[in-house]
Subunit: 140 residues, 4 copies
């Protein structure tokens, strides 16, 4: 099995059993070792009291991208710390894309960066995540 | 109107129009100037591919607590940066409480800290948020 | 050897061989398992182009407090991620105190928080750090 | 005065009056609107108790790069929050370079990212900073 195939299978296994990513309506556009690209559409029940998207929704999309990208390397990876800055507001009907890339991959620690962009390609949020990489391999 | 009354009215206005906080099932236990305490119950559609709660759910609860606490001061407050560390996993049926406190309140910038705890009072996540405080007052 | 004695010995070993903490003029006010309190005085060569203390100085004091507090548990602890917010400016001659406490101690991961305060007890900076705890014990 | 000239003049004014950047031995390799590249050499008095560079030194270099890049736009910019992850240890004699880029420039808020690399071009630290941009222009 190539690294590409393993990445694809791990993420499929995670995604197929992930009720919240499915509630969000996340689609996988691209998956590979250490990276992925996801897309979703903002719905009315995802808004907050300012009639813009709740910060937790953008975070959730980015966090899924981070989890997929870090686990796609084939070993179980658990989140140690994550942060997000919101830059542009989103409203009902907007479509957003999250692109996760690996900034650094160590034996035990991995660093990821996720950019969330809208249809106009503006950066709406910037997410950063750190994982602890367990010894345990994904069985796929 | 006292600071306590204003805090209560601002948060009510935010909460009554917040579809995502309502989807999460967030209850307000306590609201005051610069602080609040919220509670919610984990449901099956909030889980991820490891059968534990999706990181975005805990973040969302903490982010709502942060938004309520920072706006409760009476001026519009917008998130600049937030971070969260997850420490203990949550499963279907768990009940969690988020307590937001103000660490520092400046003229333009405010710092908040949110602890998320489970029924056993273990800290399951630690959230930190920074807001930019606009000049605009809440009309309540 | 009690936990208190071990903490004291580990930090002494670290401090006695730490040229930069000595250049800073750091004094230890208090050391115990998982916590410590340090003090230093701002000197002219620590200022930046605004005639206030360089952000790196306050960070360095807080980072030393974080390193001492996390290693004081007796196992080698290495920094994974740190953050700092500066709230109040410092000038030549100011005396500052950094108090490090443990927010959460897991088997592999530890979370620490350091408050830096001036003589008027105002919070001048708030630091947060996460360590990876190795299996290796300190020999003291 | 072009944006390039203004950036150069602002950073010169900051640097010429910055005793701590000078103690560090920081050299400017490149300065432009929203970005800069700095270099320094690790000396013995910059080490910690593990005989590797103190985390505060790498932070200080990155923080100077961040301050120069954000102020180079011509308006006074003050740090709101910064974070750093250390990935590779540095020892006496190592030469490091910090490259600051602008991730997002808003009217009031700016986001910067600084990569610190050693002579082998390995990423030794990754820094992220957020500024509040005042209305006040630099007089240069």
């Amino acid at each position: 099995m190539t690294a590409e195939e393993k990445a694809y299978k791990v993420v499929s296994k995670m995604y197929d059993n992930d009720p919240f990513s499915q509630w969000l309506g996340i689609e996988r556009l691209e998956v590979g070792p250490g990276h992925c690209r996801l897309r979703m559409k903002i719905r009315r029940e995802m808004l907050n009291g300012f009639a813009i998207v709740h910060g937790g929704i953008t975070f959730s999309l980015a966090d899924s991208a981070f989890a997929f990208a870090s686990n796609s390397r084939g070993r179980h990876a658990v989140s140690i710390d994550t942060s997000i800055s919101h830059m542009v507001s989103l409203k009902n009907g907007d479509i957003i894309t999250a692109t996760a890339i690996e900034e650094q991959l160590g034996h035990r620690i991995g660093h990821y960066r996720v950019e969330v962009r809208n249809e106009a390609e503006e950066m709406v949020a910037l997410f950063r995540g750190i994982v602890y990489r367990k010894s345990q391999e994904w069985e796929v």
